[in-house]
Symmetry: C2
């Protein structure tokens, strides 16, 4: 008997993770191909995806509850993986976090499909909520975790709340990647933002 | 003879500014009322607006080139006016600028109409471009002007470019008002952001 909600797995010896992952990849890549061919998100049914990939609808429904959940995986697959933090200092970890935001912004600009899917996601509250919960929220938690460590190590001021500090740190990159699609995202931007924020906007000589 | 493009003015002694402004206000308020009644932006024709306000279509076209230009004025009328800068210090001017962003965010949240019009504007590239040019860009220029004065007065570091400094300063407020509609916008937020940014994120004791 399987626990409620997970459903029985059929036609394979035990829980074939590698095989299952191959199927998941094939489905995600199939959706990407359809999007590349210009099929709008709204016209992508589970049936059409199953036909394109050459699997049964049940195979897809066994892995995803529906279109929403599947699209979030498609977007996640097209995005750079979550960054690995060096853990050497608050400054180094923040640079890696902002650099991953910068690369994500560049990837979005370079890929018309990705840009398009992002835009279409926002017009579907359900897909957007799923994207927020599985992609945005974990990233935000990662940022807050870095700040918490920095505060414990005495690298970060303790008189401003974490949520606000996080908005202060990701703000400039989000402004450039999301709100100002024409703004520069040059190499070295992450370092420059982090160092400027840590040091403050007053002239450097004042603190020297 | 009137200059090309402005058109003849009829039925009044000379250029009746006050009277003209009253008509403009009536038209803008008429559009607001239609929006409050739940009429979607797409269904608001100049003809329907003219009928509602009780003026001729020509009266509207004499003042606005079309729907796009008119809607931008409607949104602008519903927003708080541009802030008056005290000019006493970089810090004071920045606080006033960010406080006006905070109030704009609160106004947007409180007004379903305003929120709705903003969302609909974004789906129309022409209206969005008009809004950007007449509302967003002048505000951005005002911010850059404040930073330029601050740099000349030695209140602002000179080794980071102005555009980036501006994104750093407006970033946290834009994140909270535009990207995180559930985030807090408490009183005192503008002061806290400006003071934190000016001083830097390192523990305060390090510079003491």
């Amino acid at each position: 008997m399987s626990p409620a909600g997970t459903g029985p797995r059929q036609g394979g010896p035990a829980r074939g993770r590698p095989r299952s992952e191959a199927v998941e990849r094939a489905v995600v890549e199939g959706v990407m191909e359809l999007l590349e061919d210009g099929v709008p998100l709204a016209e992508l049914s589970i049936e059409r995806i199953a036909r394109t990939v050459g699997v049964g609808k049940a195979t897809i429904y066994r892995r995803w509850s529906g279109k929403e959940e599947l699209f979030v995986d498609v977007v996640r697959a097209a995005e750079p993986p979550d960054p690995e933090l060096p853990g050497t200092s608050l400054r180094d970890d923040l640079v890696v976090l902002l650099e991953s935001l910068r690369r994500r912004g560049l990837a979005n600009r370079a890929s018309a499909i990705l840009h398009n899917v992002h835009a279409q996601m926002k017009s579907s509250p359900r897909i957007w909520a799923a994207y927020h919960d599985t992609v945005v929220l974990p990233r935000r938690r990662l940022g807050l975790e870095v700040l918490r460590r920095g505060r414990e190590n005495g690298e970060l001021r303790a008189d401003v709340d974490m949520e606000l500090l996080n908005d202060i740190i990701v703000g400039p990159l989000l402004v450039r990647t999301v709100l100002r699609p024409d703004a520069d995202l040059p190499e070295g931007l992450a370092e420059q933002v982090v160092d400027t924020l840590l040091q403050g906007l007053r002239p450097v000589s004042r603190h020297a």
